[in-house]
Amino acid sequence: MMDWLKEKDEFEFKIRNESFIEKTLSSLLSLISKIRRFDNKGRGIYRIHEAFKLYFTLINIILLSLSFNKFYIMLNASYVILLIILLEDKDVLRILNISLVAFVVSSLIIGPSWFWGNKNAVLVIVKITISISLTMIMSITSNWHNIISAFRLIKVPNIVLFIFNSAIRFIYLLSERAYAILCSLKIRSVGYIKKPYNTLSQIMYNLFVTSIDMSFKMDEALECRCFSGEFKYKIYKRIGKVEFFYSIINIIIILGFFIL
């Protein structure tokens, strides 16, 4: 009985291009790790309450777009540099990359108008670069969930925020599952799939059924925790020294708009 199990197999393996699985795997992995980033606690600028970051960044960008005062723009530029210094190494690189792209693109678009006598062209380019850097720094140092709940202060209904948050959760759980399925597929198929698209459709089907099941279960979980329709939500994050310094710096910059 089951003699084949006791002996070693001797087949010839067909090794083929496995780019299909490999590519999907790596893109899924990067998605998962991006969402996992929401989860690290962080220090310094990463810890600042998202509501502060969101609203100060918004105010700064609006004032910046209104102003044509060189000194005010310089003040903002030095603020961006200060923020960049406070970032972690890997994020510094990302911000610099994005700022560079923003700078080049806006120079190409707006630069030529300088020759036609638009004296403000240089200022506009710098303003665009600064605004984009500010936005990117905010989004890189923040947790998406908390940015979403920061919108609560401008009266977005809680249930809408809940749906957003659930969507992020679903994406995470489903992509984790897809990753697991693809990994097992890769291991079992020894790198060779006969009909990749057929297999893909089966995986999609599996994910579809899982997501339906997940939403039913989530409904049950909500019910078990006495949920009855209206949503109550609180941000658990104390306001401390970091937020205080951040506010002071930003208020100085905002005052700069009116004084300079």
């Binding site: 606690k41 948050n165 049950e220 979980a221 078990c224 925790r225 006495c226 939500y233 609180k234 658990y236």
Partner: protein, 241 residues
């Protein structure tokens, strides 16, 4: 406190529970034991009023739990406050954006002062040793951590009846011991505990009563826990060990 009479359940034409009746008194601790696929999880979902009862009766604290009861939002809310449920798969149970919010969620549904909520939540953190996780996103935790958060978020509501579906899955030995002690303490405080588990030998001294469901989805044992564990022959015959 809990009484099930002649409950039969079919899901997609498969019989999942076949003519089940039992009684659980207030303050008892009961283990539900049975092989995979015998219907333990389904039974626990009935006890939590999550499934419609088509055939049979469920009486909780003198109150019939039927469609009419379940459709009354207010009654249902109070019922769920009194009966807590820890799911088998914690992925399905955690939906908030931080562990703190997860544990506090149930309490926020009632008009309780914020300080009181915070105090209860931190007490639950201490009971399960998860205070360091409070700002993490629940669904990115490890399997065992998720389970502990799920238990904490159920405990926070201080239910009278605590229903657990395989709480020891994926839990490390030290936390296992802790959860075992926790169940014992809760039972001493007068809470009713119903727990589906495969690790019943581990739970010696916690449970007083056992209910065994066979692979044919019928109850084949309903009685003393210790004497069930002693009866190896019976357990072996019914594919349990």
């Amino acid at each position: 406190m809990i009484e099930i009479k002649n409950l039969t359940c079919k899901l997609n034409e498969n019989v999942v529970l076949d003519d089940i009746s039992f009684k659980i008194n207030n303050g008892e601790s009961v283990a539900i034991i049975g092989p995979n696929g015998s219907g333990k999880t389904t039974l626990l979902r009935f006890l939590n009023g999550l499934l419609d009862i088509k055939k049979g009766e469920y009486i909780f604290d003198g109150q019939r739990i039927d469609n009419k009861f379940i459709n009354d939002a207010k009654k249902r809310k109070i019922f769920h406050k009194r009966v807590g449920f820890v799911f088998q798969n914690s992925d399905n149970q955690l939906f908030c954006k931080t562990v703190f919010n997860e544990v506090a969620f149930g309490l926020f549904q009632f008009d309780i002062k914020y300080e009181e909520v915070e105090k209860r939540v931190f007490d639950c953190f201490k009971l399960l040793d998860i205070e360091h996780l409070k700002e993490r996103v629940p669904y990115t935790l490890s399997g065992g951590e998720k389970k502990k958060v799920a238990i904490a978020s159920t405990l926070a509501l201080n239910p009278e009846v605590l229903i657990l579906d395989e709480p020891l899955n994926e839990i490390d030995p030290k936390s296992k011991r802790k959860i075992k002690e926790l169940l014992k303490t809760l039972n001493d405080y007068g809470k009713t505990i119903i727990c589906a588990t495969h690790d019943f030998e581990y739970f010696k001294g916690v449970f007083k009563k056992a209910i065994v469901i066979s692979s044919e989805h019928k109850i084949i044992y309903d009685g003393d826990f210790e004497s069930l564990i002693g009866n190896k022959e019976f357990l072996e015959q019914n594919n349990i060990i």
